[in-house]
Symmetry: C2
Subunit: 396 residues, 2 copies
């Protein structure tokens, strides 16, 4: 077991993150966090273990390992416990004040898990630690951005092999399976980490033809119907037809961070309208890359994208035709769906080093979905693309 | 979108399941369930949608669809709503009594989701619907057993291709990737549904050599260390060495139900002790197949397995060597980890048509994990294997 938070060359990185979390705690009026979700443990420790992490404003963080996870030798601030119920006694014994407004992860843990942890702090006002952590994680460190960029490079290498693994007569699902294999061989860890309980998917989706407009109960922009009612999302198993588009929105996940990149292929030919919509998606990205500056209200991005689609007469197809998604992008990092959500009613200003995936897509009836998605970091002069790969419509 | 609960030939099946759920509600002193987890919606509807299902003892169940899910036309008892907060008014309007002990899914939903739903039933005693549903789902219907059997057949077809996709010099992960592809081509949906928040994994694991004894923070019997601290489970990316075992514990998931099947391969040669342990695993399964009758306490299975390992002098290697799992099996169905858990302190009697995966495995130092796992249904005369595939150690 590797514990990155103990590595000397990672100390500065985790100190930075801790500072961000403490700032968010102060903003959220919270004087302790007890963290145990995979995502937030990974953010603050660089690894996943079984146990708890206690963060307080003026104390060193304390790691509590629960078997089978074990505290390494000679690691101060890392302790072995058997259950979280011993934590209050540990705190008292070690001179830690009992927090008056402790935070627990309301949006990351099951109801029964939070209820169990609430009993450690009787009579206290319990805050939502998930909200605080989401806030802290929204603006990335340089290290995190480098991880996402690395992820994007792996994903680009996988995407460059898509055309060569297509065989005439393939279904969307058969193509997806070959792309999954390529991603895995490229180092994709094979697990898509997402916030909330509204995401169930393997490594992403391949959507072709009419399937682009089939609603999915999950939170994906262009869901697709899937092949079985137990998992109604993504490829539907039908043969890819000439004249239809094939949109690949396969997620990365090579190093604990994710990049989100969509590219579009077509079989044999594709309509002029679809080409026009695809170029409109690219033009929207070029425009947003320029106007998305630190301080720009996020809603401005959404509105500008809608305006540009309307100017081309493509508003009926923008972000879906029968079913329309109400966002054009989302934060991304450890989880696929982080803050901020790029939608009309989000007036928050962009901040430097936010990382956002922008996906202005169109669904053209009888053709399918077209468009491009890139993952960006917000820089001083606009967006920097972390998912560099040709954006043109490509023939399969 | 297909709604299996509306299909005429499925009506009897869902009536059966509803009856089981109502019995569990009566046992659990609960007069209404409001269900919204993927797993339990699928159990009671045969599909996943966005919305809520209201189950009461003496009323027809009511389905509430939330966009993008939509009620089909001419479907009585299926209604469109925009948010769960309208459900109490709907109930009043339609003459449904306000329940005094409604159940919400404490172990399936996030804390914030349950808190939101609790506000629909102010002042009421809220019961744990997850516990009730787990109880109802523990004993399967014939239809469900047929689905698991079908799943096992797909999985067996995939396993029959393992040796042919091995290439000398491969890592455990490279072999796993080829097996994942075969499973997906065979129809595996590619999403492992598991209860709780302690499971993160792609489609299963391939464990070779020393990696068999590396602890994972997840709830897997033989975890493995993985290749990245963000996902410390499974294959570790090392080349498969001659003289080591390669244990495949890849999960199915072809039709909404899962089967769990482990088989063991080796490269070039394997020690006599490992062969002996593998045969002991098979002997344990043969014995349990006979003694596991309706009414047998589940702890009896665990104890008998430990006794048989001890009789062969293999107790130090049983269910792990450095890290030991404390169970030898688990219920399985829609989720990988259903009730009952086959462990020492579970004295519940087996019931006819429970489906359980039994995995008496050994970790032999320097060799790796050996043993077999099958998924069984409990029948009147013992266990029926639903994962029929040769059990012998096989050379890669």
């Amino acid at each position: 077991m590797i514990y990155p938070f103990l590595l000397p060359d990672m100390k500065a990185e985790f100190k930075l993150r801790l500072e961000k979390v403490r700032n968010a705690m102060a903003e959220g009026d919270c004087d302790a966090l007890l963290i145990s979700s995979t995502t937030n443990l990974f953010y603050l420790s660089g690894c996943v273990f079984r146990g708890y992490l206690l963060v307080m404003p003026e104390r060193e963080p304390v790691w509590f390992m629960v078997p089978p996870s074990v505290a390494p030798e000679n690691a101060p601030d890392v302790f072995n416990i058997h259950k979280p119920e011993v934590i209050p006694a540990w705190m008292e014994q070690h001179g830690y004040p009992i927090p008056s407004k402790p935070g627990l992860e309301f949006d990351d843990l099951l109801y029964s898990e939070v209820e169990r942890l609430k009993s450690l702090f009787p009579g206290r006002e319990i805050k939502n630690a998930s909200k605080i952590m989401r806030q802290a994680r929204m603006v990335k460190t340089e290290y995190e951005i480098a991880k996402i960029r690395e992820d994007g490079m792996h994903q680009a290498r996988a995407y460059s092999q898509v055309s060569s693994c297509f065989q005439p007569g393939m279904t969307d699902l058969e193509l997806q399976i070959e792309v999954e294999r390529i991603l895995r061989l490229e180092g994709c860890l094979g697990y898509l980490r997402a916030a909330g309980s509204r995401m169930e998917l393997n490594l992403g989706s391949v959507i072709s033809g009419e399937n682009a407009d089939v609603a999915s109960p999950y939170d994906f922009a262009m869901g697709g119907g899937g092949v079985d009612p137990s998992l109604p999302v993504g490829a539907n198993g039908k043969t890819i037809k000439p004249g239809t588009s094939v949109m690949l929105d396969m997620n990365g996940g090579f190093n604990g961070y994710q990049s989100d990149m969509t590219r579009t292929w077509y079989l044999e030919s594709i309509s002029e309208q679809a080409r026009k919509a695809h170029e409109c998606s690219r033009a929207i990205l070029r425009e947003l890359e320029k106007i998305a500056l630190p301080g720009t209200p996020i809603s401005t991005l959404y509105k500008r994208a809608v305006e540009m689609a309307e100017a081309e007469g493509l508003q009926d197809y923008f972000m879906g035709h029968v079913n329309k998604a109400k966002f054009i992008g989302h934060g991304i990092g450890i989880e696929l769906n982080e803050q901020p959500v790029v939608m009309e009613r989000n007036h928050q200003p962009l901040q430097k080093n936010m990382t956002i995936a922008l996906e202005p897509k169109f669904v053209i009836p009888h053709v399918g979905a077209v468009g491009v998605e890139n993952t960006y970091r917000v820089g001083d002069n606009g967006l920097e693309n972390l998912t560099v790969f040709p954006e043109e419509l490509q023939e399969l």
